[in-house]
């Protein structure tokens, strides 16, 4: 007679511990889908750019001021948000509040500068397929920045009323991961719209 197998695990974590938990898988799946969305947008740019006639790119090429410092600002906010997450991880509430608050302000400043960028553009959204792509891609990214800012504000508020502990903080880790995604995806948008014209892509 064959033996009956029965799983008798030892101590198991109950619910999410730290960043580990089933919610981590969920936020990763969301980010994978969002990343796909941006990759199709950038595919559209490269597809239209590669087959476009001379004059598709607006002259002069997009300037690096103020977008380069703005990019550095947004990437910096990722580190600041991480600093805030570390604060929760180590039970230092003040550090967490500074981290989330600063990241929020940096993200908001980025958004403001981006709106200024839009106003500086000489063309409207209906001018060409380039214009349509430029405003749609940066606009969709802006929508993600706004969602990220809401998340950072929520994390700030929840930390302020002392919801989290080093052990129970999956909301913090998931929210900060989403903010990292918003920042990393901007790098691809930035490279596509501001760097590749100088590398000779499209005419």
């Amino acid at each position: 007679m064959a033996e009956v197998v029965i799983a008798k695990p030892g101590k198991l974590p109950v619910g999410p511990i730290g960043r580990a938990g089933i919610g981590w898988w969920g936020i990763s799946a969301l980010i994978a889908s969002e990343a796909a969305l941006f990759s199709y947008l950038l595919f559209s740019y490269y597809y239209l750019g590669a087959s476009a006639p001379l004059g598709w790119l607006p002259e002069p090429h997009p300037k690096m001021m103020p977008v380069l410092p703005n990019t550095i600002l947004l990437l910096g906010s990722s580190f600041v948000a991480w600093y805030g997450e570390r604060g929760v991880e180590q039970g230092r509430r003040a550090q967490a509040l500074i981290g989330f608050g600063m990241a929020f302000l940096m993200g908001a400043l980025f958004a403001g500068v981006q709106v200024y960028e839009w106003h500086e553009r000489a063309f409207g959204i209906g001018a060409s397929s380039y214009a349509a792509l430029y405003y749609t891609t940066t606009g969709l990214h802006m929508a993600h920045v706004i969602v990220g800012l809401v998340i950072l504000a929520a994390l700030f508020g929840w930390t302020a009323i002392d919801y989290f502990s080093p052990r129970r903080r999956i909301s913090v880790s998931a929210g900060v991961l989403y903010w990292h995604f918003v920042d990393v995806v901007w790098l691809f948008v930035f490279t596509t719209y501001y760097v590749t014209p100088y590398l000779g892509f499209a005419r």
Partner: protein
Amino acid sequence: MRAPAYRVPEIGEDTPALRARLQEIWETPPGLKGWLVTTDHKEIGLRYIVTAFLLLIVGGIEALVIRLQLAGPNLHLLTPDQYNQLFTTHGMTMIFLYASPILSGFSNYVWPLMFGSRDMAFPRLNALSYWVYLFAAFFLYAGFVVGAGPNAGWFNYVPLAERPYNPGINEDFYAIGMIFLGISVTVGAANFIVTFFKTRAPGMAINRVPIFAWGTLTASVANLVVIPAVSLAFFLLWMDRQFGTHFFSAAKGGQPLLWQHLFWLFGHPWVYAIVLPAMGMVSDALPVFCRRPLVAHTLVALATVAVMILGFGVWVHHMFATGLPGLALSFFSTASIAITVPSAVTVFAWIATIWLGRPVITTAFLFFASMIVLFVIGGVSGFMTASVPVDWQLTDTYFVVAHLHYVLIGINVFPVVGATYFWFPKFTGKLMGERLGRWNFWTMFAGFNLGFLPMHLTGLLGMPRRVYTYPDGMGWDWLNLITTIGSFVFAVGVLLFVINVWISYRKGAPAGDNPWDAPTLEWATPSPPPPYNFAVIPTIASRHPLWEDRLQESEGRSCLSRGMTLDQGKEALSTTALDADPDRILEMPEDTSAPLLLAIGMTILFIGMLALSWLTIGIGVLACLGALLLWLWPRRDLREREPAPRVAHG
């Protein structure tokens, strides 16, 4: 007091006292409120199935009207515009609102039972995906009902779908509705993926997973990354139509072909997404009626994954006639031909299973076995059009229409009806009528082939798709008449199915737990299963936990009557992705109105987009935000936060 962060799960017997305790924890209160807030995967699965079948009937009635219009030459039952709306809405309904949701419904119901688990990984997300599906279906149909249905074909090519050529609101309904529906599919896909990898019973290692689960998994992975392509395409189309952008217009640097790329980048993986789970149903259920395990289980699982991977590289075969460079055509033609290899592996595995087994001819068996025939016919016509010169000859003719109906009805509808006969006893505790079942099967099978087999010839004789009528003397008259007759016979078959479901639901013979003597875990539960599915978490030792004593294929024996009780709250078990070793006790969410509220918020948002009313859009966004805060607010019972130790009350 802090809830303990770690715990050794209690091991116990399956006792009535334990069941009573779990019932109290897991039960959804009856009444309207319970109906609106439930997160039970079985309830949601059944809603998916019922809604999708209703939409199948609606789409079928549309098809019958189309066939009446085409029954003879020069008929004028419909105006050209009505015809355009009707065939577009028919395609939209069958492909987006029936074929995928019906499979989600079965997977929703069956997966946790197959996995020996108590619910899906994300029960609230599950409820959301159903509500969004339902509201998006209403949204997509709203235009049709008021006489402004989509009218540019289900794949909606530009420039026809652009505003200068299509000035009504028809395409806006379609564009926004499809973005809306995409949310449902995406969150559903994420849920299936995590459920597959994290909630299988201990011991159900990756090589012991039923093929049906593989089918839905691969479909879900594809959906997760390709739905954004079609959502984006429809969003850009809406921008073109409402804000004068130039994504798809040939003027000002736009490209009509960009639409086709974005649409088919999504569209072809989607085709596999709506057949692979159905093929999985056959792979799991057909062997039950052959009284032996599936031949080459591992190969079939690998073939399922291979089809999906190759499926990402075949989209251009919808675009062979668009003037793309020859090198691109060769690549996509090769990929499209190569995909027949893993498909053939699966087909031969099914045939070998019947060959080596002792078939019991039930209605379900007939549906599954006939599906193999239809799959081969649809596969061969697909293989033919994968060749570029043949495609150039046949594209946009009725040959393609015949092909796609063999594929979608043959590999989706037939297995799904078979699966209904198979799992209906589990859903309801009652068997479906076998005598009426035979009538049901043979009418559907005869009607389908009578309708669609001659259609290949109609296409070879040159009849183009999507014409609302045709002149006589083209040699198409009698073929079209036969197709129309066949379609009505097929419809009678579907009607017999509906009647059988109704009668069996009312007074079918009691089924018991395992009427088919099937090997997988869902048959170890009562029919219908209790809200918590399993009183004790089973431990799995083989692919066929209920056939182990006969098969002797594993050293150990699965344990179903004794295991982790997990009864200190609404608890479930999480296991590792590959070996399914227990790694966490999951705190499952209580029933909640947040998913319904979020779906309502989205509906307001999309109505605002349709009406271009910024106020409505704003209200929708705020409603979504409110629902999300309600949903994501860190909760103590889900262990997302600690009780604040320093705050003293009172």
